[in-house]
Symmetry: C4
Subunit: 198 residues, 4 copies
């Protein structure tokens, strides 16, 4: 199977998962609406962090598959596993928003959220490494991806630990990891590719 | 990254956001159905206005990206920010419909709706200006976009203010802005492009 | 704008609307599940009829746009109006299924459903006629489309009238119209095109 | 109609159906969240099995349509029938998860789930056989597809029977069928194609 096909299908899942996130924000009824809309802030933050995170994975997904031409069967299913986590993300996003708002077991919810991002990151890393090995890409590209991924995964691990101390701070750390990924890696750039390469 | 990729992903988000709008219209139960269906008019109006608005942004998005070949990393994330607002739109749409129907705090809901359109318009304008500057397109194209955008944003600002006086009228003004955008700009046409250019 | 772009976006809306239909079938809780699943028959029928109807419009949409190369601004917005009805369809589908199940005002619900299909058919016909006139296609093609459309619209009009006598029969007539459209038109075939032309 | 068009539309439906599965997992409220999240295990299993199953059908759908160039009208509607079952899958998935969790009539729910997969498999097989006959592909390819399909359908039939004895085991068997399909068929590979051929 060519990567075009796989990228088109993956794009579809990314686009749908990113757009379904809004369904978890429920319209408050009755009066005192400014206050009620304000109380929804964890939903807005969760929406923003998850939206940005999926958006970044979409960007990095392309930069990974733009470097290769074909996919074999294991890569196909590694990618499907990655999409399984991406499509799952609206659930932990709703979970953490709901429980920070309620103030019940927000530590558990934030831990599940950070843990989901950690697993999604691991699925992405596995897919990217397999894709690079399959096509014997330059060692520097792989190394840079590993370094940047380690920073991100480290951030999620910290967020997972912090969840049990302060859930909103844990959520904020997940947001910071997304912001980190927004900026291109220097090493990756110097390797002549970078995540914007097509 | 080529614009093709970005356009395909953006198209996906536009198509999904526009189709999710219907999920906010809830089926009324029990008897007296004509009356209950009639009471849902704010949902139909909200659906129509948001559908048309996203449809127009889709058209203008293409006309903007049809003029350029490549995107850099900032443009990628400016576009992602625009999509974040587009994908968010089903929420304020449901909010304004629900509260005009309920008759509770409809001024707040209508203000949030107009404000969301204002922010989405600002995100679109920023993306379009950046895209044009990046590729040093003719000054006239930029000016025409700025003029048309100013009219639209002015309309949304008026709708935002009117929301506190009369919510349905505020919603109607947002609809009028959409109708305004449906008609092509004269200047844009004379610049040899226009929003239908591909 | 080329038709490719418009077709891709329309395909997205068709695919999403057709897939969202399932969300209206709610999982029954508790015991006596065979009976409860059986009671959901109007939902299955509504799902099937709407799925098939949107599927057919997708097929005919392609056969229409496969004959032309470019779209102008009016065609763009006529197509958007068609998509507005397509994306709206999950609502009347859920409405008719819910009310036939409840046994309350099922005549109203079935009339709204048949009326929605009638309006969607009208939007499709307007779009197709405009597209054919724009590109001055052979008169026979137009005539055949008009004849087939008249049969279908006639069927929906009958379903609308029958709704006030027997709602399930009205729904069945809508299904028969879909089955009618599944079979290719003889005249259309002899005109060298047919809806399977690409 | 070329297969490109049909594949793009089918991809859209596959991607949306696979992503909608998450909407059936509802966020638990209140305290004792670890326990409540644990109670949701049938939802996670159902999500995983259905995700993998749709993913595999997507892969096999491509390998089938990659071998042919054009589709005729019957194939178009056989494919639409297949998509009807794919898009329907979120319903039985939610049904089996909900009833295993509740402990009410879980045998019925599991039987409906296995039965839906059986019908989806039959729709896929019919589509694939028709596509191969239409283009007179080598007999070996057809035979291998028939053998592999028979194994899978046999698995679903066993799952359907086991549903009345033990619902979770029935669900697990459906998962095993998916895992079976993940591994490529030897015969299919030796026929010079295999499901990864493009």
């Amino acid at each position: 199977m060519s990567t075009t096909r796989l990228e088109a299908f993956s794009d579809g899942v990314f686009a749908i998962a990113i757009t379904l996130l809004v369904l978890e924000i429920h319209v408050p009824e009755g009066g005192g609406l400014w206050g009620k809309l304000g109380d929804l802030w964890p939903s807005y933050v969760g929406y923003g962090v998850s939206f940005l995170t999926i958006g970044i994975i979409w960007v990095n997904h392309h930069s990974t598959f733009a470097r290769i031409d074909t996919v074999d069967r294991p890569l196909l299913f590694l990618n499907l596993l990655l999409l399984l986590w991406v499509a799952f993300l609206p659930f932990p996003t709703a979970l953490v928003a709901e429980h920070i708002r309620e103030g019940t077991d927000e530590d558990v919810a934030a831990a599940v959220y950070a843990g989901s991002l950690l697993l999604m990151g691991a699925a992405f890393f596995t897919t990217a490494v397999y894709a690079h090995r399959l096509h014997r890409l330059p060692r520097e590209v792989l190394r840079t991806i590993a370094v940047r991924n380690a920073v991100g995964q480290g951030g999620y691990a910290v967020a997972l630990a912090v969840a049990f101390v302060n859930a909103p701070v844990s959520l904020a750390i997940c947001g910071l990891v997304a912001v980190y990924y927004v900026f291109p890696g220097r090493d990756l750039g110097s390797a002549g590719g970078g995540v914007t390469a097509s």
